[in-house]
Subunit: 131 residues, 2 copies
Amino acid sequence: MNIGAAAKASGVSAKMIRYYESIGLIGQAHRTEAGYRTYGQDDLRTLGFIRHSRELGFSLAEVTRLLALWRDDDRASADVKKLAMAHIEEIDRKIAHMAAMRDTLVKLADCCHGDGHPDCSILDALSQSAG
Amino acid sequence: MNIGAAAKASGVSAKMIRYYESIGLIGQAHRTEAGYRTYGQDDLRTLGFIRHSRELGFSLAEVTRLLALWRDDDRASADVKKLAMAHIEEIDRKIAHMAAMRDTLVKLADCCHGDGHPDCSILDALSQSAG
DNA sequence: ATGGACCTTCCCATCGTGGGAAGGTCAAGG
DNA sequence: CCTTGACCTTCCCACGATGGGAAGGTCCAT
């Protein structure tokens, strides 16, 4: 299977497959004599794993660790869970940050008439030295 | 006031002040004969405005529009509000996305024993073809 | 043999920020 | 007057993950 077919089958773009190979996230693909990369079922499974991990927001660095654990038959599930929990905490931090921004924005927008006049509580707040 | 002092006073790093100038977000600073940028109170107000806008998550493209509205005495507050509301919606989308990831992760982590054994529902889920 | 669909590598762009090198300027103190 | 150190200048590189596209090679079907 060439890279295009592997991309279609795995949901990972050909561009990304090459990139993952270039940074060592996945091993070097087998090549035909002409230099074409070829992929088998195992490779598809790995690419799928990566895609799922990415969809859950894991960074490529974290995916590297997840892949290593995945391939390690002697892993402790505690290590996987630890990684996942840390990621959840990171997401929580981001959500909290965005929720705080959202709160402030909503409050400001509520105070803004939103009409044809120039007076605007949003701009007022943004130009506050203290704000 | 040199750029370092302006950075300290405004909370925007010197690096970023130069960058904002380079992309035209702010005007070109006055220069001393030696080529040093100098800043006055007006500049500080602008930098503060930018910083506050960034802290609320506005992109530099959005900040550009906010600055234009801020400087336009004939603006309609409705335009500002529209920009803010669109930004809130964008934040909502991101929060929803992250909350969904979080949900999935928590469910997976709950099913993972997190002990010394290799069996791990998280890895199992990541390696599912169906996702 | 030709065309089209594929593949290769290589470079560039995004977005906002930081790091750092190489060199110029300025002010204070010896 | 000279040195020292803190500042300033421009320029390039890096991140993270992805896409776009150019220039050129390969493969297969007509």
